[in-house]
């Protein structure tokens, strides 16, 4: 089971990483932020799967932290583009 969960983690990581092409291609800055946001959500899923696969429950705390702050870059982007 641990092997399967870890494989799924790798698969999800690879899947969302492909989306990072949008960071380079754009065209709008919002598209670049979208790719980062997708990587954030994917990262949370990967961490939860790794936590279950390895049995290190503290990794769930990393996922929790990531879920809390993954919005930050996007929120800062919107707030600065509103201000200027």
């Amino acid at each position: 089971m641990a092997e399967f969960l870890l494989a799924c983690a790798g698969f999800i990581l690879a899947a969302v990483a492909v989306g990072l092409v949008r960071v380079l291609r754009g065209p709008a800055d919002a598209d670049r932020m979208l790719a980062a946001q997708l990587l954030g959500t994917g990262g949370v899923a990967v961490l939860l799967l790794v936590a279950a696969a390895t049995g290190v429950s503290a990794v769930v705390d990393v996922a929790l932290t990531l879920a809390l702050v993954s919005t930050f870059a996007s929120a800062a982007f919107v707030a600065t583009s509103d201000g200027e």
Binding site: A7, A17, L39
Partner: protein, 332 residues
């Protein structure tokens, strides 16, 4: 085992690819987003390296760094077009490539020829863990074995904040940092800024509290606290305090002062700087961590806010004047 190996290899390749994009991307904003992605992937790498405490810190600090760099990229956007002409010529680029290849190669050789079995301080850290009454060896290193490093680092961060503040033009000194933001009605950001901080504050305090026995720590915990305040600030729910505020100054120095006081008290009760008396290590460490959490959270938040940009309002100036007559404020 092979699955874990493949995941590690893929993650490492991904980090390198994103780093290449960050360094070579055409636009600064794309590079900044690339850096945010790179930080996130590094947090995953720390988990794979069995360093969960570091992963927590990387994930939390990465959000603040990302905010800072994305904001700067947006602010400096007008300068970007003119800088293309300053790109160095082919000769310099070639030489730089060569130099970097040599550095990378040398480091790779070092990595491949690291001694086996590796030297480790883990047994020594484990041996003295009962004396500190802590369960998490990383916290023990930060707060007991190498407490002097943590104390000095705390001071360095404070000095960095002083340096940032000192960039303010003279008439703005003592004022509020950053631009003023007005809250917009029915704003999704304001909604998020009202809903997320209660959860984030609980999570931050939890990370500090749990760090005695499990991965966590004062640094990721206080970073989360700072992040939650910055979210409310971005949404316009709160305003940045004027840098001349007395409570702000007290909050900034509380951590180092408590740390230093406990350290000096070590001379009295254990004959050495930063030594804890037997049986009192854990309560003292938790006390220092509590004060440090407040100070680091405020320092990090003010570092993101930057130098004072708005002059004090007339009545606030009057209040500052009263304080300066009490000796706290130097007159300009």
């Amino acid at each position: 085992m092979t699955v874990a190996w493949a995941v590690d290899l893929g993650l490492a390749a991904l980090i390198v690819a994103v780093a290449v994009a960050t360094v070579t991307a055409r636009g600064t904003f794309a590079a900044a987003v690339g850096f945010v992605a790179c930080g996130l992937l590094l947090a995953l790498a720390w988990v794979q390296l069995a360093a969960v405490d570091v992963a927590l810190t990387e994930a939390a600090i990465g959000a603040l760094t990302g905010m800072l760099l994305l904001g700067a990229a947006a602010h400096l956007h007008p300068t970007e077009a003119g800088m293309v002409a300053e790109r160095p010529g082919v000769a310099l680029r070639g030489a730089a490539t060569l130099l970097c290849a040599v550095v990378t190669g040398a480091l790779a050789i070092v990595v491949l020829s690291l001694p086996d079995p590796a030297p480790s301080l883990a047994p020594a850290a484990a041996a003295h863990l009962p004396a500190t009454e802590l369960g998490n060896p990383v916290t023990a290193v930060l707060m007991a074995y190498r407490a002097i490093d943590t104390l000095v680092e705390k001071v360095v961060v404070l000095v960095a904040l002083l340096a940032v503040w000192s960039l303010a033009p003279d008439p703005r000194w003592g004022g509020r940092p950053g631009a003023s933001r007005r809250r917009q009605r029915d704003d999704a950001l304001a909604f998020l800024a009202q809903l997320l901080p209660p959860i984030g504050i609980v999570a931050g305090v939890y990370l500090v509290w749990t760090s005695a026995d499990h991965p966590g720590g004062a640094f990721p915990g206080s970073t989360l606290l700072a992040a939650m305040w910055l979210l409310a600030r971005m949404a316009g729910l709160v305003d940045a305090p004027a840098v001349s505020r007395r409570w702000l100054r007290i909050a900034l120095v509380a951590g180092p002062v408590v740390f230093l006081a406990v350290g000096l008290a070590g001379f009295a009760w254990a004959d050495r700087f930063l030594a804890y008396p037997d049986g009192w290590a854990k309560p003292l460490i938790l006390g220092i961590e509590a004060a440090m959490t407040v100070s680091i959270a405020v320092t990090l938040a003010m570092l993101v806010e930057g130098p004072p940009e708005r002059s004090l309002s007339p009545d606030a100036q009057r209040a500052a004047g009263e304080r300066s007559s009490s000796g706290l404020e130097p007159e300009p």
